[in-house]
Symmetry: C2
Subunit: 136 residues, 2 copies
């Protein structure tokens, strides 16, 4: 069980004042056992369902972006009309079930180490992401 204090800490670290709305967003994002993959629209709907209170779409966008910037959320590179985020910010990879439009975490040992044997002058590697698309 994640406590409200932890949410407040995350918010403050992200330069956000802890408001009722943002605490509700945190409840949905971080008060869970397993990793959570979502789109803004998923999150927006879950807030209403889980907390009974409506938070405006703009606030959901703002808060998610601040958490993403601070590193509390990870954006998943995928071709979709919507942007997907992940509460698991560790270095890991994904299955994407194209039909169901659902993401599944892959453990690093499921993929093995990836060694990039090439470099671009003046650039350094920021992230390495493997996306495994699944079909029936």
């Amino acid at each position: 069980m994640t406590s409200k204090q932890e949410f407040i800490e995350k918010l403050r670290n992200s330069s956000l004042r802890p408001t009722k709305q943002r605490i509700n967003i945190c409840e949905v994002l971080f008060n869970r056992d397993k990793t959570f993959h979502f789109t803004i629209s998923d999150l927006f709907n879950l807030i209403k369902d889980k907390t009974g209170e409506k938070v405006s779409l703009a606030t959901v966008y703002n808060t998610v972006h601040a958490f993403h910037k601070k590193g509390y959320l990870k954006e998943i590179p995928i071709n979709s009309n919507q942007t997907y985020f992940d509460t698991n910010v560790t270095d890991h990879h994904h299955f994407f079930d194209v039909k169901e439009e659902k993401l599944i975490d892959l453990k690093n040992e499921d993929v093995g180490p990836i060694e990039i044997q090439r470099s671009i002058p003046g650039k350094k590697i920021k992230s390495v992401e493997v996306l495994v698309k699944l079909e029936d």
Copy 2:
């Protein structure tokens, strides 16, 4: 140098009649030595520049989608507001220069084989894509 006949063949294979507009699109897409990474907007502008003739945006979208469906273009999974395509349809991976918003092909030997050690019942692997983000 790719010939007009090849463009017509690609179009017919994609169930598209070879029209002036579509030939122009092919000129920009396929008449080049190196692989070509683009967004619809890139392509739209290049057509005007390279052929001197304007093709409507709707036609560009339609043609690109038909080529993609037929396998003459590959869609690259990346987080961007725009969709990226690649004329290199072989199995390969990418660098993405986040600052420049530019893609660079990675040869398979630059990445090494990727063995996915996990499977999901009832699903099979459609593709494995590695995206290496670059920063300064």
